[in-house]
Amino acid sequence: MLNRNKKIARVIAYVLLSIYAVITIYPFLWAFLASFKPYSDIVQSGSPLFSGHMSLDNYRYIFTQDPMFPHWIYNSLFIATVGTALNILFNSMGGYALARLHFPGRRTLFMVVLVCIMVPTQILLIPNYLIMKAFGILDTYNAMILPSAINFAYIFMMRQFFITFPRELEESAQLDGLGRLGIFFRIVVPMAKSSIATQGIFVFLGFWNDFMRPLLYITTESKYTLTLGLQSFQTQHGTQWNYIMAAAMITILPIIFLYILLNKYFMTGMRIGGEK
């Protein structure tokens, strides 16, 4: 009886996941196929996407049209990698301090962090622009990295994580004579692997997909990020859908590759978290 129920539940689970997977994949499949199609086929809605003429013309165009393309990929990778590393370090430290350490103004600081998540970004763009101009870092990688070296949402996330973290481990480490920083890096961080991996991926994606800030802060074409470079396929009076689709695929592919690469860490990190 129990076994039969379990079997039914399992079938339902597979069906549910499969349906949702199809819903998830469909738009990407559509965009992927469209990226091999000429413009007229894409916009003539109703024309079957799975048949007809397919070619690499769109990809060829993108790479030959803009000699800057490799630069953009490098820029995006550099900014996202450095930015993510800083975020992981700073957010985790900040989150840990807010969760565990005793210092005056902790409560206020936490409230400030919460408020900072809530302020709409549109209003901060121009003041930030003025600050960066004063620092002379406009049109540099720093303009992209420094203001985003921390992320309040993930400070908040790390704090939530550290609050539920067992104190006993830290206390025993303290008895062994480790200082706070030692405890943090040797005991806490390794235990927080899954949260850090999750945070890392989302922060990286945030940098990789960011559009508004590079638009305002980066002006030299050789310093463009990929998102900004791709925007140039949107012309004054229309959108070159065929190139946009190909370009979108090119932005997604490195990320998927990276994800598959990190997936192992992601998985082990989470499994260890579960075993503790």
Binding site: P38, Y39, S40, V43, Q44, S45, Q65, F78, T81, V82, A85, L86, I88, L89, L125, I126, Y129, L130, K133, G136, I137, L138, T140, Y141, N142, I145, F185, R186, V189, P190, K193, I196, L215, L216, T219, E221, L228, Q231, S232, Q234, T235, Q236, H237, G238, T239, W241
Partner: protein, 426 residues
């Protein structure tokens, strides 16, 4: 522990990369500053335009200028003109010379952002009579001074699908020359061509302004407030709205489920499309098999009417190299350079002599657009056009769909725009 070690290494590496990045940037910055000892550099702001050919033409233009004067050009590409220009102006980082869309000229001029070119033109005896009058006047401020020189322009034309016309038993010569006949013609096409919409349009103020002003009223008041709800404006636009909401002979491209008018027209779903000259290159690249032509708009209330969109070169009032900036503007708007640019980019030159030299008046595709340059309404309407346009485009799709009456829609747009305008002025 092993894992911990890995992470610390990664952090260290990241720190090192950042330090390198910082050092790299600052050293680059220093060399940029130091580089000015040898040669001068002028910053020029522009957007990319409609085709790769336009970028090619612009690059040649810049190269020629550097060859001629020794002044280097630092390019600043605007991907989102409104947002980036606003940030530049607030931050004081706007280029020495930049593109100005005619519709923005009044607001930029009254803010004192643009340098008047009049004294430079006078000093150099710059001859402006060669420009098409509407394109030149578009950059004349309300104080009579000149705040930019037109680089090129575009007007609108009536694109027709020759195959569909033939299928209905007509040729291009049968397209009526007046508005009432034309609307009746659309009805005939609708019955003869089932499954095809006779005409597609874009629900944009820039495309409808000349129709709205065809009965004598302006879309703005003398003080620059919205005047869309003026009964004359409403009655001028009503036939077009009725053709969509009632007759279904005209549909917006969005109603047809397309992303642009070109897509609907190129997909053979409509016989006509009213679009700018920029659609010519788009159709040629994207819809190679389409058999199409262009002709002038039918007259409205017996008058020839059209829109003219023009972009000019303007000088930043805060530029530190005004003489160089003027040299640049003078150079790129000269006959020779203008012809190079217009020919390579296949755009319409703002100089009559260049249009003649390029043989555009004999060019079947382009002639209707060039003809319209003489009588078209410039896309300019006071300092609040962006607000008025945004309110119009917010409500007008619902009017085309017949969900609200045109009079109500335009009243709502006017009230909403004027409330905002008051907020800026008070």
């Amino acid at each position: 522990m092993k894992w911990n070690h890995k992470w610390s290494t990664l952090m260290l590496a990241a720190g090192a990369m950042l330090a390198l990045g910082l050092a790299g940037c600052s050293s680059k910055g220093a060399s940029d500053g130091g580089g000015s000892t040898g040669s001068k550099t002028l910053t020029v702001g522009f957007w990319k335009g409609d085709s790769p050919k336009e970028s090619e033409a612009r690059d040649t233009l810049f190269k020629n200028f550097t060859k001629d004067t020794g002044i280097k050009i630092k390019q600043k590409v605007y991907n989102d003109y409104n947002t980036q220009l606003m940030t530049d102006l607030v931050g004081g980082t706007a280029p020495d010379v930049f593109y100005v869309d005619s519709s923005l000229l009044p607001s930029l001029q009254t803010k004192g952002v643009l340098e008047s070119l009049s004294s430079y033109m006078k000093k150099d005896k710059y001859d402006a009579s060669d420009f098409y009058a509407p394109t030149y006047k578009a950059f004349t401020g309300d104080d009579g001074k000149q705040y930019g020189l037109p680089k090129d322009y575009s007007t609108m034309g009536l694109y027709y699908n020759a195959d569909l016309l033939k299928k209905a038993g007509y040729t291009a010569n049968d397209i009526p020359k007046t508005d009432t006949e034309f609307l009746a013609f659309l009805k005939k096409l609708k019955t003869k061509l089932p499954g095809v919409t006779p005409m597609t349009i874009s629900p944009l103020l820039a495309r409808q302004m000349f129709i709205m002003q065809s009965t004598g009223a302006k879309i703005i008041t003398k003080s620059g407030k919205a005047n869309l709800s003026d009964p004359k404006v409403v009655s001028a636009l009503q036939p077009l709205i009725d053709a969509d909401a009632k007759d279904k002979t005209v549909r917006t491209f969005k109603e047809l489920g397309f992303g642009s008018a070109m897509d609907a027209f190129g997909s053979q779903k409509t016989v006509f499309s009213d679009e700018g000259a920029w659609q010519v290159s788009g159709l040629k690249t994207n819809f190679k098999d389409l058999n199409w032509g262009t002709t002038e708009f039918p007259t409205i209330n017996g008058q020839k009417a059209n829109m003219i969109f023009t972009v000019g070169w303007s000088m930043n009032a805060a530029s530190k190299q005004k003489d160089d900036a003027w040299r640049f503007i003078k150079f790129v708007t000269s006959k020779k350079q203008s012809q190079q640019y217009s020919t390579t980019a296949s755009v319409l030159p703002s100089r009559k002599s260049v249009a003649k030299a390029m043989g555009l008046t004999d060019n079947k595709e382009m002639a209707p657009f060039v003809a319209a340059a003489n009588y078209a309404t410039p896309w300019i309407a006071g300092v609040n056009l962006d607000t008025i346009q945004s309110r119009y485009e917010n409500i007008i799709p619902s009017a085309f769909q017949g969900k609200v009456t045109l009079a109500d829609a335009l009243k709502q747009a006017t009230d909403s725009a004027n409330k905002d305008i008051a907020k800026q002025d008070e």
